[in-house]
Subunit: 271 residues, 4 copies
């Protein structure tokens, strides 16, 4: 197929030092995927022209879809929360310590319980209480805010509202959710209660891109913990929180690195 | 409630040295569970009379259900197989090395693919090919054989036939199955194909008691393995086998030790 | 041995409703361990006299050692930090959300990097910079502060100073540390560098009680994560932080519940 | 550096369809590693000449080291055993079922305990009892046998003899051992006893290439299991066996696929 040869030759002949290269072939879909990271230092094509040159010389030839990211530009991430604080703390610690090279222009809440936390870290907090009646207009305001702030992606950090199809389709594959079960088991509400009722011996958490189908979007990351007959629903919830925050933060970390590629209903996780 | 005090006093006052004691309270069901292991050496009540004495002095008083097991009597386990060999090898290795203190009076197959293995270890192999037409009569023969051999419990070691309700109800909570998914996700046939289609990042296996509802019986043990977008269905199957054999053998080990107590749709796993 | 019978009879005959009971026999040490939790409601012995009555009627008879804890009294926990923030955030989130039913009268730092965090959550922060010269006097002040504040136990949340034997022996089995390796591998400084050099495929973290022997105290909790040849030392550090905070917080949670019993160089973890 | 471009161009321009390509840069060592798999169908360079052509056109230019493997040639694997059977069963099941595409020309034992198993599967068994006195001559015979049988690599499946430096250096990076601990913790003899004494909460197993330094060779695979204060040394041994057999078989599977590349004291595991 020669794609690897063509792309690496394009980079090499223009003095682009390849830092990492990974490819993947999905044989069932007959699709080829590739991620290349190279240094701009010494690269002979100016930053602003890379997209055009690549498209003209390589992309068209192979009918590729491609995206260019520059690591010196930090993506902008908005965080949606409700009442539970564990995911937000985890995100803020990573943000404050520099692990997440990201800007956080807004924390959005449908409750004000976590406003104190946004305030303490001097991140703008926007309150949009949601009722059945006001949902369309509140979501319209949220969408306008996201656009005004030029948000790159949205993180639902245990946000307990279902987003409308309209909201979701405005940000395709740009909304990351954490679901508190091992999907596809226990979709929807109250998964820990369902897990308790079923008597499972392992619980889980799943981060995924949000699509119009509830809890059906491309899975990014999953993790599990062993539980026993001694664990009550409260114990499952407590232990699940540890999974939720890690599984969400790992998805965010990959998103910031541009290492997750959603394709159809799956994701390719580059190393 | 005084049950622990009464039981331990009964044992202690009759010179029964307690080796282990574990209790569990299911508050949602308002039920109390307890497992005690003690030494018969020096115990003043003769083996044959323990059941009567315990029932009369303690059991009736608290309206208990109880079972007595004597560790010097090895349980009898029958193994049902089809074509896949990995679980059977794993069981036979543990049996031959003495890890499984059990008798294996029969291996039953609906195919003859694994007869060679039974033959090499000199365990009687019984072939009962199953078709839609002959299923009732073949199962009747199998039931008769289980009774004749005084089998205590049955292990379905990747046996690819669904047992009839009649068969299952003849051995309530005495049939252990291994299902090749992380239940309740991917019940029924071809779970690895479903897992692949869904794009999960973790696969699992589940051992459970067989009930009339397919893949819905009390879960005994579960384990998982991380997978990636690079794994094909064949890779999932290959990696799943490692889970299947361990998860099944751990359930068998507990059954032999009388450490699994099914109750309603759950199990209590004593340590 | 009759201990279980005697204790449960003591509780039962005084209207103490047992909530949980767990026992453990260490056969190599010929020691018996037991943890009982019961309700004081309806218990006929007044709270202040339980210790005396239990000792006189039961404890002496069996030459037991025992401790009484009342769940309505929250323990006091001091936190020692240096520069790394991940463990402190994790602890504070659990504290603020009520998961940790504990009082935090002081955060002690040998650097002031995390003072902002203590300030934001309005927890008193004490700065004790440590040099070779001032270490004895600074530790003396810390000990005095701990006593003045009536601290029950101390948590070293990535505190990068080695405590003197004098300090450690003042709080026997009351100091919990997190070590950033899978002990006993990679004791001492720079464990992630050592792990990288050795080319291990799994890294770990260990929470343990601090004793005079560096990284040799009773282990409370351990967890691990898989790594690969692609991970740099920086990657190991980043991924290790997730282990460190969870493994430390799990040890703290158990300490607050009085569910960890150190004995010689090991711990018994009651469920 | 252009290596990727040169290699992929070499393959592409000779009609070699690339199935997988993976590269790795070890920055601390300033070394570049790459694994490419391509189809020989339609490849214009005949099988017998690939090595020469590749070396002349590409390898020399970049001062590479390279190895060519053809997937239609099954490697030859010898298995060394002592008394424990769990690893051997696991290997034989995978061999018999076709999971291991390998030839097994010999099983070598220093005891005859497992001869029955080799006999049942009709694999030649060679008994070489080892004493202090006869070790050099027995090893000489073993080496001669390996060479006569043209063995590609040797698996020590819980072989309880330390190989001499002479033996090891005859098969550099061609001997795979399973050590029953989480290396580098608990090197040498009786690791489960040491783990028990230390009171660890997790045990492990490690597969590695054998070098002259005992248990210091490049690590291929590691896995762990949680244990508790209730586990005796016997329990650790029993549970460790499950780790040992999986961790060894995963190393063998990778070896057969030529997916493990030892370099200095580490391994690169291609996907």
């Amino acid at each position: 197929m020669g794609i690897v040869a063509s792309v690496t030759d394009f980079l090499h002949s223009n003095n682009g030092n390849i830092i990492s290269l990974e490819q993947h072939v999905d044989r069932s879909e007959q699709r080829f995927f590739m991620r290349v990271e190279w240094m701009l230092e010494d690269f002979t094509i100016p930053e602003a022209k890379i997209d055009d040159f690549f498209g003209t010389l390589i992309g068209q030839k192979y009918q590729m879809q491609w995206k260019l990211y520059f690591t010196d530009r930090q993506p902008k991430m908005a965080i949606f929360v409700s009442k539970a604080s564990h995911c937000l703390y985890d995100i803020l610690q990573r943000y404050m310590s520099g692990e997440f090279a990201v800007e956080i222009p807004a924390i959005i809440g449908n409750h004000d319980n976590l406003q104190y936390l946004a305030d303490r870290f001097e991140i703008p907090f926007y309150l949009f209480p949601i009722t059945k009646e006001n949902k369309p207009e509140q979501e319209a305001k949220e969408i306008a805010l996201m656009k005004e702030l030029e948000v790159d992606f949205i993180v639902l950090a245990r946000y307990m509202q279902i987003l409308s199809d309209n909201f979701v389709s405005t940000f395709p594959n740009r909304i990351i959710n954490i679901h508190h079960s091992f999907l596809p088991a226990f979709k929807g509400a109250r998964p820990y209660h369902s897990a308790f009722e079923r008597g499972v011996k392992i619980i889980g958490a799943t981060s995924h891109y949000v699509t119009a189908d509830l809890d059906e979007g491309p899975i990014i990351f999953q993790d599990v913990a062993k539980v026993s007959h001694r664990d009550t629903v409260q114990d499952l919830k407590r232990r699940g929180k540890d999974l939720e925050k890690l599984v969400l933060s790992q998805a965010i970390w990959r998103e910031i690195q541009h290492k997750t590629l959603p394709y159809k209903n799956k994701t390719i996780l580059f190393e």
